[in-house]
């Protein structure tokens, strides 16, 4: 089934050749825009204050699970088969490992998020604090996880499912060199296509949901000094509530500027 020739249609070009770049534009552009515009809204919006008995188990289960899933995706999508072959990793070894670790992480993630959604729905204050944006995001997130788990499960029993390492992965890598290998992705099984499209939707809305907190994972905490002094003077422009004065703005106090420009 590797490299099987599949006719490439206009939809294939749109979905696997054009859509990835649109999603990337939303994902990157949206993140940059939100980082600049909405620092104050950039938070985990933790609901631990309301309830922590369920959260204590569900949240780490989900988060550590999804981190493991992320690593699995990077390994599967980025490392070409030739590399693992040259290391002497056989096809079977690779798949046993991928399936084993992947299923544990995936099921942990799923159990975690199901518990979190259950908690969100049944704990009064947490449900009250759930926005429409959150609900929409949960649908996309749970959908993407379910689609991914489903295609993994199906591939174990149904051997007509294509190998993602010769379809999805080459296509994924080709996106980044701006030469999308539409044919490779077009040859992938339907399950992969559903998973990818669902993930596209998730990534397109990512910057506009609370998921942005993932981008500010505080790794620098491991290296920064404990005590932070900050001077009023050296505060970077744009921080705080004083508007940034551009170089070309007339000199003067902000309140005068305002009266001058107004009418």
């Amino acid at each position: 089934m590797d490299g099987a020739e599949v006719p490439v249609g206009i939809w294939d070009v749109l979905l696997w050749g054009v859509l990835p770049y649109i999603v990337l534009a939303f994902f990157i552009g949206g993140t940059v825009w939100r980082y600049r515009y909405d620092q104050f809204g950039w938070t985990t919006r933790s609901s631990q204050l309301y309830e922590s008995r369920l959260l204590r188990w569900a949240s780490p289960l989900f988060h550590f699970g999804i981190l493991a899933v992320l690593v699995g995706h990077i390994v599967g999508l980025v490392i070409p088969r030739a590399w693992t072959d040259s290391l002497g990793v056989t096809e079977d070894m690779y798949h046993v490992m991928a399936l084993g670790i992947g299923s544990i992480a995936g099921i942990g993630t799923l159990v975690g998020i199901v518990l979190l959604v259950y908690r969100r729905r049944t704990t009064g204050p947490v449900f009250m604090a759930t926005t429409k944006n959150d609900k929409f995001m949960y649908v996309l997130l749970v959908g993407a996880i379910l689609a991914g788990l489903a295609v993994t499960a199906i591939s174990v029993f149904d051997h007509s499912v294509t190998d993602y390492r010769s379809t999805v992965s080459p296509w994924f890598r080709s996106i980044w060199i701006l030469q999308p290998d539409v044919a490779a992705m077009a040859a992938a099984s339907l399950g992969f296509k559903v998973h990818v499209l669902w993930a596209f939707a998730l990534f397109a809305v990512w910057p506009f949901t609370r998921l942005v907190h993932a981008f500010t994972a505080p790794l620098h905490y491991l290296f920064r000094p404990y005590i932070v002094y900050r001077s009023r003077d050296s505060r970077r422009p744009g921080r705080g509530t004083v508007p940034v004065r551009r170089g070309w703005d007339p000199v003067g106090t902000p309140d005068r500027e305002r009266t001058r420009t107004r009418r």
């Binding site: 938070t43 922590s52 509530t241 902000p254």
Partner: protein, 576 residues
């Protein structure tokens, strides 16, 4: 030696009558917004009592502050950097809302709209968290006065500790008559453990005045600071998803006026001034092995503002002359270092807190009076301080990590001042032996009396303002309408409430009040939609929603309702 300036506060607990004016004015100024209903930057606790949040001093449970590791170095009690990172998805020891209390409002509409019937209509309590009916079971100040102490005083972690150590349960009989108030704000520590716990590095200490603030733009809601602060004075705003804390009213302090809590204090028990401290030695001082040495170590950091070497070093750090002058006149320096009557709250947390307390002598005086003795006689007082072990031990657990000798010294100095000054007031010859007995001179006692009893506004609050040349770097300068969207915008960005740029604090209150008064849905309860919260109504005009809407036939029948027209009500501020 690296000299830095620190704004600090001293509270003289003898003068606190527990009126909670400080708490209420602070709340009205800072935390009357959605998401901070349960938050009291300033609260007043009755001691013995559990405090707010309940039993916050039980660090075996809450794991706040610092401890020494095996090599004698400071480490966060709740764990090192890696442990914190692993606990980020579910903070292991974070207080929940039930540890504070569930805030509520009342369904006043029912009082007006209830149909005529045999039963009196009641205003049911509605939870501000869920919007549903709620049972009020606890609040920020539930174990107030003896009414609470008798019922829950035994839950006080310090009472537990003192009792465990004295193993004398009979004495609780006495403890029940022993009571005082403890107003608490953020300690603006020199070695803050909240700051050290913050994964984002959003909490910072201002280099100019030492005020500890949370950068609302950089806080990401990891909520480790709530665990880290042993005083539990960092709060999680559950609407905005950011940590908030007492700001030492920096917009006021920057222009030289005292904090809201100090300004409105009825007992005039708060003093604000600056310390010059040696920033290089803070870690060293916080790491002394014996907890009971922490007070002296902290006092050692406070440098003498009259010492030419200190002044020279301060100038080298760019501290302006008016600040050095304020440091020389600082009432907090006098009370803490020169007179040694102000003690830090829980020095054993190793955070070097900068809100100091003059411990109360009143339990001792009251007891003497109740027993028919002369409560202001020096001999009686000295004797009582020595023999009344429970209050002294209790105070020592609060202020000196259990060192009763230090507390006794302070109480003796206060007692000496009382009896020395009584002789003078009654026109008798001053008894210098009283002053000598506590290692002071008569002149020093009189100076202490002046500062503690009759100091005027300008002596209690010596606050150098921020500098004019820095004016444009101040947080609050500029037209107050000069933000995105201008007035009426509220805190609304593209992602709903609490997104977008933060509104400058001075207008935030105004806008929040306006938003609340006009909100459709203050608690998520649609029954309250369109209503005016009477607590927030300033008494002027008739805001939309104050009265029920009238239908056309009502208008035909009823005359104009006598709404409170402007000018007919007198504002209390004008008559006072």
């Amino acid at each position: 030696m690296r000299i830095m300036a620190q704004t600090a506060m001293v509270m003289a607990l003898d003068k606190c009558i527990g009126c909670h004016t400080c708490s209420v004015t602070c709340k009205q100024a800072w935390t009357n917004r959605a998401g901070t209903e349960y938050v009291w930057f300033n609260n007043v606790e009755t001691r013995p009592g559990q405090g707010y949040p309940r039993r916050y001093e039980d660090q075996e449970k809450w794991r706040g502050g610092w401890e020494l590791n095996r090599r004698g170095n400071l480490r966060l009690k709740s764990g090192g950097r890696l442990a914190k990172m692993f606990g980020i998805f579910a903070s292991p020891v974070q207080p929940e809302l039930k540890d504070y209390y569930e805030p509520w409002t009342y369904d006043y509409e029912n009082l007006i709209n209830a149909p005529a019937g045999d039963d009196f209509p009641v205003a049911r309590p509605k939870s501000l968290i869920t919007g549903k009916d709620t049972r009020i079971s606890w609040s920020a100040n539930w174990d107030d006065n003896l009414g609470g102490t008798a019922g829950s005083g035994h839950l006080d972690p310090i009472v537990e500790k003192v009792r465990r150590e004295s193993e004398d349960k009979v004495r609780f009989e006495f403890e029940q008559t022993f009571m005082f108030y403890l107003p608490r704000i953020c300690e603006h520590c020199l070695n803050p453990s909240c700051m050290a716990s913050c994964p984002s590095g959003a909490i910072y200490k201002r280099a100019e005045d030492g005020i500890v603030l949370v950068d609302q733009d950089r806080c990401r809601g990891w909520r480790q600071c709530v665990t880290g602060c042993p005083y539990k004075k960092i709060y999680y705003n559950h609407k905005s998803g950011k940590a908030e804390k007492c700001t030492f009213c920096y917009p006021r302090v920057e222009v030289g006026i005292p904090t809201v809590c100090a300004e409105t204090c009825v007992g005039r028990l708060r003093y604000i001034g600056i310390f010059l401290y040696d920033a290089d030695r803070v870690t060293e001082a916080a790491s002394v092995p014996d907890e009971q040495d922490l007070y002296e170590a902290q006092l050692d950091l406070m440098m003498d503002p009259h010492d030419p070497a200190v002044i020279e070093a301060a100038r080298a750090e760019g501290i302006p002359e008016d600040w050095l002058d304020a440091a020389r006149r600082s009432p907090v320096y006098k009370l803490a270092k020169e007179m040694r009557v102000a003690l830090p709250l829980h020095p054993e947390y190793r955070t070097m807190p900068m809100v100091w307390y003059v411990p109360p002598l009143s339990p001792v005086v009251d007891l003497l009076k109740d027993q028919g003795h002369d409560g202001e006689d020096a001999e009686n007082l000295f004797g009582a301080i020595e023999s009344l072990r429970i209050p002294v031990e209790y105070l020592a657990e609060l202020f000196t990590a259990g060192d009763t000798r230090l507390v006794t010294d302070v109480l003796r100095r206060l007692a000496a001042m009382r009896s020395y000054m009584r002789d003078i007031t009654l026109g008798r010859e001053a008894d210098e032996s009283i002053a000598r007995a506590v290692g002071m001179t008569g002149a020093q006692v009189q100076e202490m009396y002046r500062l503690m009893a009759i100091a005027k506004y300008g002596e209690r609050y010596v606050i150098p303002s921020a500098h004019v040349e820095d004016a444009h770097n101040l947080e609050e300068l500029g037209c107050s309408l000069d933000v995105d969207g201008g007035p009426g915008m509220g805190q609304m960005g593209g992602f709903g409430e609490a997104s977008g740029r933060p509104v400058p604090v001075a207008q935030e209150t105004f806008m929040a009040l306006q938003a609340r008064q006009t909100a459709d849905d203050p608690t998520g309860n649609t029954q309250l939609a369109g209503r005016v919260n009477l607590l927030n109504w300033d008494g002027h005009g008739t805001p939309e929603g104050l009265f029920p809407h009238r239908t056309a036939e009502d208008v035909g029948q009823v005359e104009e309702p006598p709404g409170p027209a402007d000018g007919t009500t007198t504002r209390s501020g004008e008559t006072a």
